[in-house]
């Protein structure tokens, strides 16, 4: 009996200890709960990003609650265990998402400040801090604070050259940092500084890639060097970097893509013969999508080299061997038709364009085929044909727009419709269609381009500076494409400068 009592007491003691959590790992429990809170907050954030205002409030509160889990100003105490650091990283991720929530809601200045705070508070955790700095740089550019954006990208570029972490997110941001800084510096007119930064970053990344030879990251670093050199117009150096990436043993997966990039670079460098060799290499050595892309590149390279007789059979082979509904087949058909048109085989080109427009009306190339037919007749001065073909194109596009709800597809179709109208000299209608596409889908970069075209038509063809200025202002404030934002701001600045200097100029408009 005494033994039974002792056993019962021991069991009760064990149960109490288990309930009290003795002997367990509180860090594991804390991490699991943080992951749970973040998962729920992420779901709310996805709903908020989709435009649900109630979800926005709840997501913000949930993300704030997770972000408050960080343990120390630098993210986590240096002596903390790995699970405590995990909790700090989760809290940082929540803080990043919270800032993004502000950006999505259009509160970009608030979001920028939040990103700056996250970069400081989580300075010890690369995956959070670097992502926060990269996101802040993007926002600074959107806010027209290019100089600060350059400084942020420049700081990240310097950090990329002295890596202290193997985290994926920091590397991704760091690899693009130097290229972004160079792009912005060039835009600001600081070309010498851009060249200097590009050279320094290339050298540093190249040295790092050499030091990390035989590791997967070396391939990415060489690719970053190639991109920097390409942007600077140093094509030989860019190709040397890609060849170095090819020589890395860890680069097998990316090998095909690198060979294709070499072909593209050679075309950009106006060396079609070299491009032909690289494209043929990629087309013959590899298989699947990359081989098909390589064949298209090969056809383009022959075209650049002025050997249409070699280019046309490659296009034909590609069209025959690809499924007829694919995007690459549509591209090949369109390019082949354009080449046939340029070489004086309009009948064959028109047959190809008609087949493309009929078989793939929802593909951008299918819509471009309709525009190409109209463009040919306008260029040749065949007014009657142009009128008939434009009516047919507008009817086809209207039918497509009546049944399609996909935003990207509608923007493409509206762009094609506006282009046909512009070709037929109906500039006001074209401007209206372009502007309608922009106003209906301002979140899409393609719609921003349509907005830009609308402003340009209003400016140059309709001579309506007030309408153009309104579009430029709208684009400068809301465009999803940073380049179009910048170009719109430049146009506004250019229009404002003479108006301030010579008041009469404004009146004369």
């Amino acid at each position: 009996m005494a033994v039974t009592r002792r056993a019962a007491a021991a069991a009760a003691l064990l149960l109490v200890a288990a309930i009290a959590g003795c002997g367990g790992d509180p860090e594991l429990w804390a991490r699991w709960n943080a992951e749970r809170l973040l998962w729920r907050a992420r779901r709310l954030e996805a709903r908020a990003a989709a435009g649900d205002p109630v979800a926005w409030q709840r997501a913000a509160a949930a993300l704030d609650r997770v972000a408050a889990l960080r343990h120390a100003p630098a993210g986590a105490p240096p002596a903390a265990g790995p699970r405590t650091r995990d909790v700090a990283a989760l809290a940082g991720t929540a803080a990043l998402l919270r800032a993004r929530l502000d950006a999505v809601a259009g509160r970009e200045a608030d979001a920028e400040r939040a990103y700056a705070r996250v970069a400081t508070d989580w300075a010890g955790i690369d995956s959070v801090a670097v992502a926060a700095r990269a996101a802040r740089a993007v926002l600074l550019e959107r806010l027209a604070r290019d100089r600060e954006a350059v400084a942020e990208w420049g700081g990240l570029a310097r950090r990329a050259a002295s890596p202290d972490s193997a985290g994926v997110a920091p590397w991704t941001a760091c690899r693009t940092a130097a290229a972004e800084a160079v792009r912005l510096l060039a835009r600001l007119g600081r070309t010498a500084e851009a060249d200097s930064l590009g050279d320094a970053a290339s050298a540093a990344l190249g040295a790092e890639a050499a030091r990390m030879a035989d590791r997967t990251i070396a391939d990415d670093l060489w690719a970053a060097v190639a991109e920097l050199r390409r942007r600077a117009g140093h094509y030989d150096a860019a190709r040397a970097a890609l060849r170095a990436a090819l020589s890395e043993p860890g680069a097998d997966d990316a090998r095909a893509a690198r060979v294709l990039e070499l072909a593209t670079l050679s075309r950009e460098a106006l060396e079609p013969d070299t491009a032909v060799r690289y494209a043929a290499w990629a087309a013959h050595e590899f298989s699947g999508d990359i081989a098909n892309s390589a064949m298209l590149e090969l056809a383009h390279a022959w075209e650049d080299a002025g050997v249409a007789d070699s280019s046309l059979p490659v296009y034909k082979r590609l069209i025959e061997q690809l499924p007829s509904m694919g995007g690459l087949a549509a591209r090949a058909r369109l390019d082949r038709a354009r080449l046939l048109d340029r070489t004086g085989h309009w009948e064959a080109a028109r047959a190809e364009l008609r087949a493309l427009a009929m078989m793939q009306p929802t593909d951008p190339c299918g819509q471009a085929a309709l525009v190409e037919i109209v463009r040919h007749h306008v260029r040749e001065g065949e007014a009657v044909f142009a009128r008939v073909e434009s009516s047919h194109a507008l009817e086809t596009l209207d039918r497509l727009l009546a049944v399609q709800g996909d935003a990207a597809l509608r923007v493409e179709a509206l762009g094609a419709r506006a282009e046909v109208l512009a070709l037929m000299g109906r500039a006001a209608a074209a401007e209206s269609v372009y502007a309608g596409a922009w106003r209906a889908y301002p979140d899409l970069p393609a719609a921003a381009f349509a907005g830009w075209r609308a402003a340009r038509v209003a400016d140059s063809l309709l001579h309506d500076p007030r309408d153009a200025a309104a579009l430029y202002r709208d684009l400068a404030a809301r465009s999803a494409d940073p380049d179009i934002r910048w170009r719109a701001r430049q146009r506004l600045a250019a229009d404002a400068t003479p108006a301030r200097g010579t008041p009469a100029a404004g009146g004369s408009r």
């Binding site: 959590g21 002997g23 367990g24 594991l28 992951e35 749970r36 998962w39």
Partner: protein
């Protein structure tokens, strides 16, 4: 007895056992067979709690891998983790629960209570294991092949459908054989060596009834597994916290199937035997 009479007797026996399963004493087996896997699901889902982590962290890590140590991976991995646990313990627990339910179905009206039936089954557990464990293991293998065939239907429709059909027939045969053995096992005076003879005798006077009973249970099990997988997939994917509740519901359905099999075997044998005599 005519085949049609056997089928009618099978229907009556199944209906009676399903009704009895929700009332004492069989409801105790139903409850226990539901609570054991449900409790396992709750414990695995709460492995990170400091009171449980010293014991359950290595278990979850071994059963579900590194992904199961994070939310919501733990909850998404619960069904496969429980399936692995089930594969390890089913050979013991399924014959035990079957014996318990069969003893209650056979002697419950004669005054044997729930605890007494459990103790009697534990005393005769080796007999139940010798006959039951091979059948449980064989059924696990068959159902594993069936599950793989179901996932392959989209890729090779004809071959996978044939596999599903064959495994369904094999499942029905295993259940029919089990249903013929359970009444013999539940009587203490039947020696193990006499079991094949008992099964042959049961087949000769009630083959159609047992085959229909096995096929009916196999069909119900097949439908329940399909529906369960579909519901579990959608519920756990969007609401991971509901995983233990969903698994408890699945366990309750499986427990009902087990009680219906064990009790139904005993009642069916009695019904067919009475008519035959």
């Amino acid at each position: 007895m005519e085949a049609l009479e056997q089928l009618a007797a099978t229907g009556h026996a199944s209906a009676r056992v399903l009704r009895d399963a929700f009332a004492p004493p069989l409801a105790a087996v139903l409850l226990a067979a539901t609570l054991v896997p449900a409790a396992a699901a709750w414990l695995l889902a709460g492995f990170a709690w400091p009171g449980l982590s010293p014991v359950l962290l290595p278990v979850v890590s071994r059963l579900g891998g590194e992904a199961a140590l994070h939310y919501p991976g733990t909850l998404w991995a619960l069904p496969p983790m429980l399936a692995r646990l089930g594969a390890v313990t089913a050979w013991l627990l399924v014959p035990l629960a079957t014996g318990w339910a069969a003893t209650l179905a056979a002697y419950g009206r004669g005054g044997v209570d729930v605890v007494g039936a459990l103790l009697a089954t534990l005393q005769r557990l080796p007999r139940w294991l010798v006959a039951g464990a091979p059948l449980v293991i064989a059924r696990d293998v068959v159902l594993g092949i069936q599950a793989r065939a179901l996932t392959a239907v989209a890729h090779r429709p004809a071959g996978a459908a044939a596999e599903v059909l064959l495994t369904f027939v094999a499942d029905a045969a295993i259940l029919a054989l089990g249903a013929m053995l359970v009444p013999a096992l539940v009587h203490r005076d039947t020696p193990l060596a006499a079991l094949p003879g008992q099964a042959r005798a049961a087949w000769s006077w009630g083959g159609a009834g047992h085959a229909a009973f096995g096929a009916g249970l196999a069909a119900l099990g097949f439908a329940m597994r399909l529906a369960g997988d579909r519901v579990m997939g959608s519920v756990i994917g969007t609401h991971p916290d509901a995983a233990p509740v969903a698994l408890a519901a699945v366990a309750a359905v499986a427990a009902l199937g087990l009680v219906a099999f064990a009790g139904g075997s005993v009642v069916l044998a009695a019904a067919l035997d009475d008519r035959w005599r």
